[in-house]
Symmetry: C2
């Protein structure tokens, strides 16, 4: 049984302010919760689940706090339109020490605003083995429930940092910076890279001029048809697939 | 001024059943409505807009029925969380005669369910010059407001058909069929094509076995990291970028 106070507490984690204060976030659904438990069980603080889910998953839950709840209770704490068996409260990942771009592929997001796009980009990074994403401070919050859901578990495997982009980029000496733009070099013909920074811009405004000026290389996805642009996550996926594989 | 009856009528177009009966759909926001007017002004039946939008766009509207409305009226007819200046009622496109895949690139969607994914795929097709998409009857409805919005106007330029996929595929003689799967040939190394059918599967189940058995070629996006899969629209974008450009 869930007391009213607990329900309210979980609901407040839908808001960024409370998530930051508590250092926690919410993840829902059997698939996502299973991925998070497999990636880092210690970070999963509490699991609220229907009895049938608990029965099925007992073995993987020996160190986790589990609370059996009813469907009605799940509906009250869930952020989903269709609640799905289980909700976990998870500790936010450590991202104090921002990484260096040296010897790495780093994806940089300049004000990507749509939570679905950010989550999808984290999933794409995980697919292509990109271990770190550096976001401008105005980008969508990685712990927004919609972001978390659309990462499909990749949020536990990719480090996401928020910083003042211009300053951070200026500090990355001798590292090639590639900016996704509409007037660059054809991404399908450039050489593969093992180290570098790839910048994806805002959904409607693209990359801001001050950030763009820091990129020595502009890259473009060739267009055959008439669409004015591509979705930011789709562009990220296409660029990584050409530049890394 | 909008009478109550008209408000109700526009609201019902949010539902597939009524859209089909009326042969109409809704498109919202300055960017999307402008794209639809440019692509095919005759199909735009009525435009409901704030006065400032009308003043700015008078020139391109000489043959369209325009109704000036207030912000409060727009809120009542809009399907968006944040209504955006203009809503158009548009005639559904003619898709009676399903095309042949001969001499064409055809994208086939086997039960793509998420409206955002379908809209994004239509936009990707438009970017890469793919003129036709054939969907299984169970796929998301192309006139769902979320689909329309995420096409960013490409809905006016790409033909989308719904049919019994197995039967249609069986009729396409001597045309190469490529299925996106997790165990196929590396898409980054296969030859470019100018004619062919490319199948993308459902978000969680992939391509159904009966459809997959009709594809002579399986193609895969190489994975370097650990994500279990890629988003359907992202996969479509990556595959088209490698196979067409």
């Amino acid at each position: 049984m869930l007391v009213k106070q607990k329900i309210k507490y979980i609901q407040t984690l839908g808001q960024k302010k409370f998530r930051e204060e508590e250092g926690l976030f919410i993840a829902e659904g059997p698939k996502l919760v299973k991925e998070l438990l497999e990636a880092d069980a210690a970070s999963v603080k509490e699991v609220y689940a229907l009895q049938d889910w608990i029965d099925e998953n007992k073995k993987s839950l020996n160190k986790t706090v589990i609370i059996a709840i009813s469907e009605i209770e799940l509906e009250r704490i869930s952020q989903l339109t269709t609640p799905n068996k289980v909700l976990a409260i998870v500790q936010q990942y450590e991202t104090d020490k921002i990484v260096s771009a040296k010897d790495n592929i780093t994806l940089v997001l300049d004000d990507v605003q749509d939570p679905g796009n950010l989550g999808t980009i984290i999933r794409i990074a995980d697919w292509f083995g990109v271990r770190q994403i550096v976001c401008s401070n105005n980008s969508a919050d990685m712990y927004n429930p919609k972001v978390v859901q659309s990462t499909m578990g990749s949020i536990a495997r990719v480090k996401v940092f928020y910083t003042h982009l211009e300053e951070w980029l200026a500090d990355q000496k001798n590292i090639n910076i590639y900016a996704a733009s509409l007037d660059g070099e054809d991404v399908t013909t450039i050489n593969k890279i093992r180290e570098g920074i790839i910048i994806i811009g805002n959904e409607s405004k693209g990359i801001s001029p001050s950030i763009l000026s820091l990129a020595a290389n502009k890259i473009t996805i060739p267009r055959i048809g008439e669409a004015e642009s591509l979705n930011a996550a789709v562009a990220a996926g296409i660029i990584l697939s050409h530049i890394l594989t």
